[in-house]
């Protein structure tokens, strides 16, 4: 990853994250297939909802025949972390048009957000729409394709996890977190490590009471507050 913010470099920078989309997308398609969802339903869901963990929940709740209101509420809760990510990244596009902002936000994911935060450390804290559009659009298309392929192949591959592809997403966040910590010079290493430690411990305690997705949201909010408190003031 370098300081270039062209469409082409966006397309290049997003490549390592695609393994995650392919791994999880295939798995989602296969689960959808075994849950008797049609290829069209899978494609529409990937294009319209476009959210990994939420789509798994939606499929399982559809299969259970849950009320639509309950499914929509669950989806909102799982994806509410998008609010934090969008708030955080939107500052870098304040000068761009509202339409650009809406287009960028519409396809923002955990992965392209984290990638952008890494990129900022190479570009003197600047982002450009074309760079993020490239990353967003490629991720979007790869996700949709992977879920459809998974659904089509559903009967052939019983266990996609045997190839370890489901770990691609975890691996990606390990990489992005590590690179974030070593390259973000706006904060001291000590401050960042303290936040990491605090959030990790908070997650463990919060998951005593809340499912992972809700714990994640609370831990992130607490972690941001903690970070503000422990930042050395000069």
């Amino acid at each position: 990853m370098d300081s270039s913010l062209t469409f082409k470099s966006g397309a290049k920078d997003v490549v390592p994250t695609l393994f995650g989309y392919i791994g999880v997308g295939l798995a989602m398609g296969i689960v959808a297939n075994t849950s008797h969802l049609s290829v069209l339903a899978v494609l529409l869901m990937s294009l319209i909802v476009y959210a990994g963990s939420a789509q798994f929940i939606i499929i399982s709740m559809l299969l259970a025949g849950s009320p639509i209101s309950a499914i929509v509420l669950s989806t909102f809760l799982i994806n509410s972390r998008m609010i934090l990510m969008s708030l955080s990244i939107a500052q870098y596009f304040k000068k761009d048009s509202l339409l650009q902002n809406i287009a960028l936000g519409s396809l923002l994911t955990d992965e392209t957000f984290a990638l952008s935060m890494n990129k900022l450390n190479q570009t003197q804290q600047k982002l450009r729409p074309r760079w993020l559009h490239a990353a967003n659009i490629i991720a979007y298309l790869v996700w949709a394709a992977a879920t459809v392929v998974g659904c089509l192949l559903g009967n052939l591959i019983a266990d996609p996890n045997q190839f370890g592809l489901d770990f691609a997403v975890v691996g990606m966040f390990i990489g992005l977190l590590y690179l974030q910590i070593i390259t973000d010079r706006s904060k001291t290493l000590k401050t960042q490590l303290l936040v990491v430690l605090f959030v990790a411990i908070a997650m463990f305690f919060l998951m005593r009471f809340f499912p992972g997705n809700i714990a994640l949201l609370i831990a992130t909010l607490l972690g941001c507050g903690f970070g503000m408190v422990v930042t050395p003031h000069d």
Binding site: A41, M85, Q162, G164
Partner: protein
């Protein structure tokens, strides 16, 4: 596809889209106070840590979380790959290969 599935997809898509887009519109039109910028500057490291740790834990309703041992084991070589190469791709591939090997030898 039944109406039930279609309406669920459309409404779930709508709430997700709003979560993604409304913050952009707010930040675009509002002067963001300094404390909020400071607060939000911790979102990346906090949220990435939370997503990672979530994958290492297993939620059991009403109990302490368990540990996802296969993810914990596969994370070790992945972290090492990050330290050694500083390459995102190397971390991902190392992690996936480690996980495939773990499952091959029956530890996953």
């Amino acid at each position: 596809m039944t109406n039930y599935v279609l309406v669920t997809i459309l409404l779930s898509g709508l709430v997700t889209w709003l979560s993604r887009v409304v913050p952009f519109a707010i930040i675009k039109n509002l002067a963001v106070p300094k404390w909020l910028i400071n607060f939000l500057s911790f979102v990346p490291v906090a949220i990435m840590t939370a997503i990672f740790v979530e994958s290492l834990l297993v939620y059991h309703a009403g109990q302490w979380p368990g540990f996802n041992l296969e993810n914990i084991y596969a994370s070790i070589p992945a972290i090492l790959a990050g330290v050694l190469t500083k390459s995102l791709l190397a971390v991902v591939i190392t992690g996936v290969v480690a996980m495939a090997l773990l499952r091959l030898v029956g530890m996953g």
